[in-house]
Amino acid sequence: MLNVSEVMSSPAITVEILDSVSKVATIMEKYEIGGLPVLDNGKLCGIITSRDVRRAHPNRIVADAMCKNVVYVYINTPLWEAKSILEEKKLERLPVLDKCKLVGVVTKTDILVEIGRHTDPLTGLRTGSYIRSLAESILTNKNQLTVIFFDLNGFGIINKTYGHVYGDRCLKIVGHIFAENTPDGLYFPGRYAGDEFIVVTTEKKDDAGLWANEIIKKIADTTKKNGVPVTVAAGVAGGCREGARTEPHLSATVDDLINLASLASTLSKQNCEPVTFSS
């Protein structure tokens, strides 16, 4: 999973608690930085921003101008979680710690640019490649992995009958349903390609199948209210691991599971079933 260590600036430019505010202003101007972590004997104790500098007398020491309640993240914090913290606290940057040691700084811009690269612009869901890398990290952590592959039925006909703008609207609705119905930390949805969606989860396959059925019903109900009902065929693969085991080829295992789920969704389509489990 993408985390802050991949986009942070490292090493961080810092100031000491006894430095003057005027020195901070000089450093900010030199490096064109709007905020600097403050260290006291090597430990993070605050953050000073350009706003703090503007409001304080230049003769003051940093300890008398900085914000003491510094919000920070750890090196393995997922990018999406860091983004939520920045938005919730209305911050522009976060110091990054490895245990107790400051190792970098990540800004809102760094995070938004990276997230943008892994976000499908139409649905707002994560891209298929991101979900694939997420599946690998689930296996790396020796967790249960179930892959659910969703394929919209007859979507080409919808596009041809009602136009591509209407088709895009349907895809947006479907994306919204996925986003709104994925419990945090359990189900991770993404747009795989065209009218195909992929979801990976740490739940077992039976639970994943029940969840997929619910989603398919919601998609049918919601799209019906908005015009033309869209039906979906889903395939479920994996999710039957008993205890931890070592995966020698994580990437190949993920490829296999996606492939099996995709083939199972084709069977669902052929048999007019909502969900089929890969054998």
Binding site: I17, A56, H57, N59, R60, I61, D64
Partner: protein, 121 residues
């Protein structure tokens, strides 16, 4: 005060006048009370470090949430004569009348206790 004129050192060139004022450095330099403005050139943490070095354990720093001052430094011995709350409210009230956020004010406080005791003869 000691004053030295250097008029005879150079008759034709530029002249300089040196004036020296010698006086005793007050320990502690902040007397009884120090009021620190929110935008003063020196802040609470810097003052804290100063008093820790110059007059350890003699002063107490009280943070103020509202008004032009961010904190008040009070000599601990004063709090034994008058409660801290009473002293602080009087100091802040008077300080507000004369100071701004950029000021650092020092104040000398004299407290005289008048005690009348009646005893049976």
């Amino acid at each position: 005060m000691l004053s030295l004129k250097s008029g005879n050192l150079n008759d034709t060139g530029r002249k300089a006048q040196i004036s020296i004022i010698l006086s005793e450095f007050e320990i502690p330099p902040i007397q009884d009370v120090l009021l620190i403005g929110r935008r003063a050139p020196i802040g609470t943490k810097a003052v804290q470090r100063m008093i820790d070095v110059l007059s350890p354990e003699q002063y107490e720093i009280l943070n103020v949430n509202e008004g032009p001052f961010e904190s008040v430094v009070i000599r601990k011995s004063l709090s034994r004569l008058v409660t801290q709350e009473k002293l602080l409210s009087i100091i802040l009230e008077e300080g507000h009348k004369v100071a701004s956020e950029t000021a650092v004010l020092k104040a000398q406080i004299n407290i005289v206790l008048n005690i009348n005791v009646e005893v049976d003869l």
